[in-house]
């Protein structure tokens, strides 16, 4: 009965609505503007907390991400869907994850945040979303031509447990080395004193919402990339209806919370270079499409035992390190010094992957 509801149209709509309520609430509780939830930004903050990059304004071990993976793990076990599997071109998934992150950080947000920015009145997001759709569309052309990364194999249970355990380890680090007011480092963990990394909801609120979203999204297969891909490829609106619910409900919630501020300029953690808002998301959208899931979906898959999705997640975290160490990530002032070059290189790499990995599966 529950299983059926979650697989239904109303199931996916209710999960989109749930995120639409709680993402703006997380913002109210302390998360950065139009960033109640952003998988790319939060993984970037985690990379900063670990010192994989040293951009002082984006360092925080975001409990939402930990919650996403552990929530999906719990749901997978509750519904007997935990299936340890791996071996479908992991290195390709790592590279796709890294470039997806680089593209997302040129725009300043993953598809989730693109929707939340739109729902908060940041019209720059329109260019990002158009880019996302464009990137996914290119991905569907490859899919139609037989692009695929080969079969995954069933494997040891512990393989599926590794990313959830890494996330649990991150959470433990947070308890062992908690934030101390006025200090930018506790033990091994870095914290931001100003900027987006210093803005966060209380730990348990963030973790709680993360767990709930993880459980619900694992059940419904919520995916912001799949939404557009299925629409383009199969004219199917199932996943798309979840994304529409997210935007509509987040818009209403923002209105109620007085968080809706329409316009192009002075939007929180955003820049107005439309071409590169578009270009960054073309790259991210293509990388997500070639990897078979948006960054959120990759976390949920990793939670249910998919070792290849876990590699994609690690690729994103490492990609964030490159993005900030190499000056690829944008800031409210505009694109980073090497951001444009990185988008072009990333696009070429994705095309190389798309054109060359189309062997028919036996």
């Amino acid at each position: 009965m529950i299983r059926k509801f979650f697989a239904s149209r109303w199931g996916i709509i209710s999960v989109g609505a749930f995120i639409g309520v709680f993402a703006p609430l997380l913002q109210k509780w302390g998360n950065p503007g139009n960033m109640g939830i952003c998988v790319a930004c939060f993984e970037r903050d985690i990379a900063g907390a670990l010192g994989l990059h040293r951009a002082a304004v984006v360092q925080y071990m975001r409990p939402e991400i930990v919650g996403f993976v552990l929530g999906a793990l719990i749901a997978a076990y509750l519904f007997k869907e935990f299936r340890p599997r791996a071996g479908s071109a992991p290195i390709v998934r790592f590279v796709l994850g890294a470039f997806a992150m680089i593209g997302a950080l040129v725009f300043l947000g993953c598809p989730w945040r693109a929707m939340l920015r739109l729902a908060g009145g940041d019209w720059n997001a329109v260019f990002g979303i158009l880019g996302l759709i464009g990137g996914i569309w290119i991905g569907t052309l490859f899919l139609r031509k037989g692009y695929n990364l080969g079969r995954a194999q069933e494997t040891h249970t512990s393989v599926g447990w590794l990313l959830p355990l890494i996330m649990l380890g991150f959470l433990c680090l947070m308890f062992i080395f908690p934030q101390v007011e006025g200090q930018d480092k506790t033990g091994v963990l870095f914290y931001s004193l100003k900027g987006p990394g210093s803005q966060h909801a209380p730990l348990f609120a963030a973790l709680g919402v993360g767990l709930a979203v993880g459980i619900l999204a694992q059940r419904t297969r919520f995916c912001t990339m799949g939404a557009f891909r299925d629409l383009i490829l199969f004219r199917q609106i199932h996943l798309f209806s979840g994304v529409v619910a997210l935007v509509v409900v987040a818009f209403i919630t923002n209105l109620i919370l007085k968080q809706f501020h329409p316009g192009f300029v002075s939007q929180p953690v955003a820049h107005t270079m439309s071409l590169w808002n578009f270009g960054g998301m073309v790259l991210a959208g293509l990388a997500f499409a070639l990897a078979g899931g948006c960054p959120g979906r990759q976390l949920f898959l990793a939670g249910e035992g998919d070792g290849d999705a876990a590699v994609f997640v690690l690729g994103m975290i490492v990609g964030a390190g490159f993005a900030h160490n190499f000056g690829l990530a944008s800031s409210p002032q505009g694109v980073g010094p090497h951001g444009i070059a990185a988008v072009i290189i990333g696009f070429v790499v994705c095309l190389f992957i798309g054109f060359t990995m189309r062997k028919k599966v036996a």
Partner: protein
């Protein structure tokens, strides 16, 4: 005897793509699809039904499922 599409181990959207490809060529009769995750099971069933096929049965098969679809 029905034709078999083996979509085990393939990630989204490959199982649906393979199913669609198959039922585009074979416009009626019976087709069996092997999948290894619940997501694929749901997606393949949903896609088949959207093309006017009936899901005749879903049986556990190894660690995955065997979905039988049919159209007259």
């Amino acid at each position: 005897m029905s034709d078999i599409v083996d979509a085990r181990g393939l990630s989204c959207p490959q199982p649906v793509l393979l199913t669609m490809e198959k039922i585009k060529k074979q416009t009626k009769g019976e087709v069996a699809i092997l999948v290894d995750t619940d997501t694929s099971k749901e997606n393949v069933s949903r896609a088949a039904m959207s093309q006017g096929w009936k899901v005749k049965g879903v049986k556990p098969d190894g660690t995955g499922y065997k979905i039988t679809i049919a159209k007259k």
